[in-house]
């Protein structure tokens, strides 16, 4: 039977073979395998799907069904930059549709398509979870808040020149050098009491009936000063020492899965810190104090 399923596309797609081998050709790992193939190739070409089917022992149509079902898989080549406009309820009522139309006009493609020069892929999402900032447009991972059709051209030109990479490059570490409470805007960094030679974040903490002041290392996000069993950020509620606003973020760390702590860095970036030292930065454009308050609603 296998010979007649025939893989007429000759080359054996060694990259796909390696990815499938890493998952031991497991049938259950199909989505994981497809994600990695897409990350490696930029999209899911036909020969890659055939190779995935062969290595996982599924029929091609099974693999194709999964690949065509999920929005995050693309069967067509994608552009160098991804522009994703939110059309969730909150963004929609604030004019998200007009933003999409403006993007579409500016790029000359419809949502879901890629420009002929391979520069941009325009996408829409049903909610990006940043409703207070709406209408939101995300370009290559950077969030642009309160977008209107007039801002579209500037965003695209910024994307062409490359938006600032939101996360630290390999070997570097995002270090919080300036942090304020997202709610009241007062400083959280305490230069007088450094940890590992860097200023620490001062917070109020609450855990299992214990309440008190604690400090977070700016280098690796480890909590200091709380009782031993509170060392994991997971079980600790953290508050701003000035206004008692909660600092725990709903988002979990991509590395260790623990809920993160969010503070506002000096340039308007919302920094999520966690105990494993992986500090992720979600950039939001800040325009005046009003926007700052809305960012606080995110956390």
């Amino acid at each position: 039977m296998d010979t007649m399923r025939g893989d007429t596309i000759g080359a054996d797609a060694p990259d796909v073979a390696a990815i499938a081998a890493a998952h031991r050709g497991s049938r259950a790992a199909l989505i994981a395998i497809l994600r990695e193939v897409q990350a490696a190739r930029g999209y899911l070409p036909e020969d890659a799907l055939r190779a995935v089917a062969r290595h996982t022992g599924r029929s091609l149509v099974d693999v194709y069904a999964v690949a065509s079902f999920y929005h995050s898989f693309s069967l067509k080549p994608r552009g160098r930059h991804t522009v994703c406009a939110c059309l969730g309820t909150a963004c929609h009522v604030r004019g998200g549709q007009q933003v999409v139309e403006a993007l579409s006009r500016e790029l000359g493609v419809r949502a879901g398509e890629t420009t002929p020069d391979g520069e941009f892929t325009l996408e829409t999402a049903n909610c990006l979870g940043a409703c207070a900032l709406g209408p939101v447009v995300v370009v290559d991972g950077r969030y642009f808040a309160k977008v209107n059709p007039g801002k579209v051209r500037r965003i695209l030109s910024q994307a062409r020149s490359g938006v600032a990479a939101p996360e630290a490059a390999d070997g570097e570490r995002a270090l919080v050098t300036e942090a304020v409470c997202p709610e009241c805007g007062r400083p959280l960094l305490d230069a007088a009491r450094p940890i590992d030679g860097y200023p620490s974040l001062q917070v109020s903490a609450q855990c299992n009936g214990w309440r008190g002041r604690a400090r977070i290392s700016c280098v690796d996000g480890v909590l200091d000063g709380a009782p031993e069993n509170a060392a994991a950020l997971e079980r600790v509620r953290l508050f701003c020492p000035h206004c008692s606003a909660g600092l725990n973020d709903l988002l979990r760390c991509g590395e260790c899965g623990v809920p993160t702590v969010s503070v506002l860095a000096g340039d308007g970036a919302l920094v999520q810190m966690c105990g494993c030292g992986e500090q992720r930065v979600r950039r939001a454009e800040v325009e005046g104090a009003g926007a700052r308050r809305e960012i606080a609603q995110l956390s």
Partner: protein, 227 residues
Amino acid sequence: MIHLTINGLGVSVEEGATLLEAAQSVGFPIPTLCHMEGLSPYGACRLCVVEVGEGARARLVSSCTYPAQEELVVRTASARVLRARRMVIELHLASCPQSKTIQDLASALGVRQQRFRQEQESCILCGRCVRMCAEQMMAGAIGFRGRGQSRSVGTPFDQPSDACRLCGGCLYVCPACELRCTYTEPEKAVCGGCANLQPPCVENGRFDQMMCYMDPCVACEIAAQRR
């Protein structure tokens, strides 16, 4: 054995039997579209809804996928069930008005009007052909593609499939297209089988067993004429 009550009648069935099988074993008719003996239950058409439970906790479930449970109280033709079934078949009728199977079911359920916008689909996405191809013909040539409004049944990349042995089983089990031969419009054929006027089954020995459902078979007739 599991003991349950269907329409007030005590019924005993084997463990693992579905409500549909239990009801049919004692002769209560339940209309179905996507269900087919020999294929795995799928629960796509929702026509086989029955009401389980009592009082305020009664709810509608698809009987083809619901396993029989001890002391379960089932009603297969309550007013609520019939209302739901009429709605379901009316929606199917709106999408596939040409299907004789669906027309007959709608008529039997007392649907006398068509309130929804008429579409001219030839598929209700019941998945019979997909399961037939994968489970009975062991081919896996066709499957579901896409999602939501653009969901469709067909081969990967819309190309003739290497796994398809042109058996016609998909057409044979289809409740919507009913063996409608599309060989004059090959691009609309499910697997392009009919478009291939070469007799595939007799000439090339690619397949160990043909397991053919084509009746009448275009390819075989042409082969007979040539002889």
